[in-house]
């Protein structure tokens, strides 16, 4: 017996080492052009290699400790509150929030910062209503919580379907975002980085289960926070760590003023530079629709608590008290991080400039990395490139850690809820359960890689919105009402989840998040051929609240001033080329050349769009333009999810749901008979 397990460990070690080697080797081999200069690529790979080595050591160490189901899914419930707090932060701070929010702030100022608030407030719901009760009555999954008093097979099936749906949406967005990110930073091919992320994540999950996943997330969160604090110290120190002094510099910065003028267009003509700079600190440059904002806020505040990979983290701690402590720590880390993004974003706006940031990535995702490069001494310096490499490696670790958490959550839904719970009727040996968990992880991991590659170049913005909206409209109402409402029953939960999720998905499919070929073609033509002069348009009054949500009647539209005709890129390029022939001053010539290069890039993109959407007139679901006018469906789908659970529960009876209520309510409040920690 002993020799077998030693052999197993030996075998595991080889496989883990192999996975790391493949991931790193494929990355070095396929490195093309990226933000990191060619002569400093080795630095990037050294940092990447070091981080991968650390995580692989963790996996090897964890693999020796993962034998039982509880160890695989819940790290033996022996993670401390502080550790779990860091791991939650590691699970939650995805590349989108790490790079995306700093980017939004660097391009749009105040609105970007405002956007970050909801991601923290979301944890209030987790803390007050979800974490402790779920820890007290649950085992490994959302399905366990719902099956406590509802029909176990039905509850587990619907919970597993919902968990896998949410995870796959979120996971695809992470894979696609991650692939693009790594390509932009260090020039590795998209497919290669998706496969590298997939292999690493699979190694963590399959060999190390929740133990390895937890520690990878802790390491990643620590790296992320350290990197951010260092960058903020360097950015803020010149201003004596004074908020007004720092923001005065932002307001007075020429790049910032230029960016605001660009965003405001004709409205900026009568503003002084001082006013333009100050405008950067005021709302309204990015978020235009308050209703959409509130809808997004609802999805965040209620969706986070329904995210299966976050929920799963509370089963890793020994008691409800530790679960509480872990949310407090997570809130301190996550909130602190988002406050730092204010300085990262504003610092990048000032030091790198919006033009420099968007030149590398249109969405602004490169603001943080480019700020790091600047602070280290710029693109030609060793330290600058080391900083950039470090931030790039942290971003990569971020994607891998978040994806690992999601894969583990969906694998547990597949193996524990569906296979063991539904198919085997809870009769499976411990060995069978662990094997099922590992096989499910491999299946989900491969699905993630395949979807990641298939979704190359696709618009995935809607997937994150969908993941949060489904979690908020399906998982949260079901869990919340199961835990707190005596009358709640199986029918309510099953139908509420179905209706909530379907509504959320359907509304996103007909929302502005999707790609509408006619709009893309029109934009591309406007870039190429320019736009004719337009007369001023008077403001239109809304014909009612419903018109702000659906394209069935006149929605409110602000007045638009008259616009002069604008030349297209073709015309502009011809002029620049003409001018270039007459220029002699090298500085001017250089500028003209870069202008021409930029125009050529725009033209190429517009022509590519025209070709891609040639002949198409409707979106994926056959619409010419959005029917639902908000980007986030939460405003409608969340109340609907709750309503269906309530109505069905009121009008149907379910004996088990009623009989189990006393036990559930006592146990969720007191922790009697809660699953204990595994003794080592």
């Amino acid at each position: 017996m002993l020799t077998t397990s030693n052999k197993d460990i030996d075998m595991n070690l080889k496989l883990i080492g192999g996975a790391a080697a493949i991931a790193l080797a494929s990355m070095t081999a396929f490195a093309g052009e990226g933000a990191v200069a060619e002569e400093y690529k080795w630095l990037t790979f050294a940092v990447f290699g070091a981080i991968i080595a650390v995580t692989m050591y963790i996996t090897w160490w964890a693999a020796k400790r993962v034998h039982s189901t509880t160890e695989f899914y819940a790290a033996g419930r022996s993670v401390t509150g502080i550790q779990n707090g860091w791991a939650i932060a590691g699970d939650y701070l995805s590349a989108a929030s790490f790079l995306g929010i700093a980017g939004l702030i660097s391009l749009y100022g105040y609105d970007g910062f405002m956007y970050s608030v909801g991601w923290l407030v979301a944890y209030i719901t987790v803390l007050l209503v979800i974490a402790e009760p779920c820890r007290n009555i649950g085992k490994y999954t959302l399905g366990d919580v719902l099956a406590f008093r509802n029909d176990p097979k039905k509850a587990k099936t619907i919970a597993a379907v919902s968990t896998i749906t949410v995870s796959i949406f979120y996971l695809t967005a992470q894979m696609v975002g991650g692939g693009i990110l790594v390509k932009t930073l260090i020039g590795i091919d998209y497919e290669v980085s998706v496969i590298a992320v997939g292999i690493l994540m699979l190694a963590y999950v399959v060999f190390g289960g929740m133990v390895a996943t937890t520690w990878v997330q802790i390491v990643k969160a620590a790296l992320l926070v350290t990197a951010s604090i260092l960058l903020v110290v360097f950015t803020w120190a010149p201003y004596g760590f004074s908020l007004p002094a720092f923001l005065t510099a932002v307001v007075g910065d020429a790049d910032v003023q230029k960016q605001v003028a660009k965003l405001l267009g004709d409205a900026a003509t009568n503003m002084t530079p001082e006013e333009l700079g100050q405008r950067f600190l005021e709302p309204g440059l990015f978020l235009k629709s308050p209703i959409d904002q509130i809808s997004l806020g609802m999805a965040l505040v209620f969706g986070t608590a329904g995210m299966p990979h976050i929920l799963m983290r509370f089963f890793t701690v020994p008691t409800a008290q530790e679960a509480r402590k872990s949310v407090i720590w997570a809130m301190a880390i996550i909130g602190g991080f988002y406050v730092l993004t204010l300085f990262l974003g504003m610092g990048a706006a000032m030091n790198v400039g919006a033009a420099g940031i968007t030149a590398v990535d249109k969405g602004g995702n490169m603001a943080g990395p480019l700020l790091a490069q600047y602070l280290g001494g710029g693109a030609d310096s060793m330290l600058g490139n080391f900083f950039l490499a470090f931030v790039a490696a942290v971003a990569f670790a971020t994607i891998v850690a978040v994806v690992a958490g999601l894969v583990l959550a969906s694998a547990s839904a597949m193996a524990h809820d569906l296979y063991v719970g539904v198919v085997k009727g809870d009769h499976a040996t411990p060995q069978e359960q662990v094997t099922a968990a590992r096989i499910a992880s491999v299946i989900v991991g491969i699905i993630a890689i395949v979807i990641g590659i298939m979704a190359k170049g696709q618009n995935v913005a809607h997937l994150v919105a969908m993941a949060f909206a489904v979690a908020a409209s399906s998982n949260l109402p079901a869990v919340f009402l199961t835990l707190y409402w005596r009358r709640c029953n199986t029918n309510g939960v099953v139908w509420g989840m179905l209706v909530g999720a379907t509504t959320a998905i359907a509304l996103v499919m007909v929302s502005p998040n999707m790609t509408y070929p006619q709009a893309v073609i029109k934009d591309a033509k406007a870039v190429l051929e320019g736009t004719p002069a337009k007369d001023a348009v008077e403001a239109k009054a809304s014909a009612g609240f419903i018109c702000e949500l659906f394209a069935v009647c006149q929605k409110a539209e602000p007045a638009k001033p008259a616009v002069a005709a604008k030349p297209g890129a073709m015309e502009k390029l011809a002029k620049v080329n003409e001018k270039m022939a007459t220029l002699t001053d090298p500085a001017e010539l250089e500028k003209a050349k870069s202008d021409a290069a930029k125009l050529e890039k725009d033209i190429k993109k517009a022509e590519g769009d025209l070709k891609k959407f040639e002949g198409q007139t409707t979106s994926m679901v056959g619409l010419e333009k959005p029917f639902f006018l908000l980007k986030n469906p939460g405003l409608i789908s969340i109340p609907l999810g709750f309503l269906v659970v309530v109505l069905l529960s009121l009008f149907t009876r379910d004996r088990r749901s009623e009989e189990m209520w006393d036990e559930l309510y006592v146990r969720q409040n007191t922790g009697i008979h809660a699953e204990g920690a595994v003794a080592h």
Binding site: Y123, L128, L243, G284, I328, V339, V666, T670, G671
Partner: protein, 105 residues
């Protein structure tokens, strides 16, 4: 000690459990409603009270920035208040019920 099943219905109606339930429910709903309202004041303020948000109060620092920063402080504050109350009061009340769980018939 092997686990015997406590009488759940009896515990549920026990005055000590009812006291815990009543205190917790009131406290949690209060905190939750306050947090949600305070959070949504931010997008509402940014959309409909722009003049207020644009008012400069500390160099270039305006009401909007201070309000957004206050959201963080309030979220941490709510978490702190809950943790303190739960650690001090709810945990002790629950522990008392757990100790007597098998005697409540």
């Amino acid at each position: 000690m092997t686990q015997t099943t406590p009488n759940w219905a009896a515990i549920d109606t026990d005055p000590r459990f009812q006291a815990l339930h009543a205190k917790k429910t009131r406290f949690l709903w209060g905190l939750m409603i306050f947090s949600v309202i305070y959070y949504f004041l931010l997008p509402v303020g940014a959309a409909y009270y722009q003049d207020l948000f644009k008012m400069k109060v500390w160099g270039p620092v305006n009401v909007g920035i201070l309000f957004a920063l206050s959201e963080f402080v309030v979220a941490w504050g709510v978490a702190g208040i809950y943790a303190k109350r739960a650690n001090r009061e709810f945990d002790a009340m629950a522990a008392e019920i757990v100790r007597n769980a098998h005697n409540i018939k």
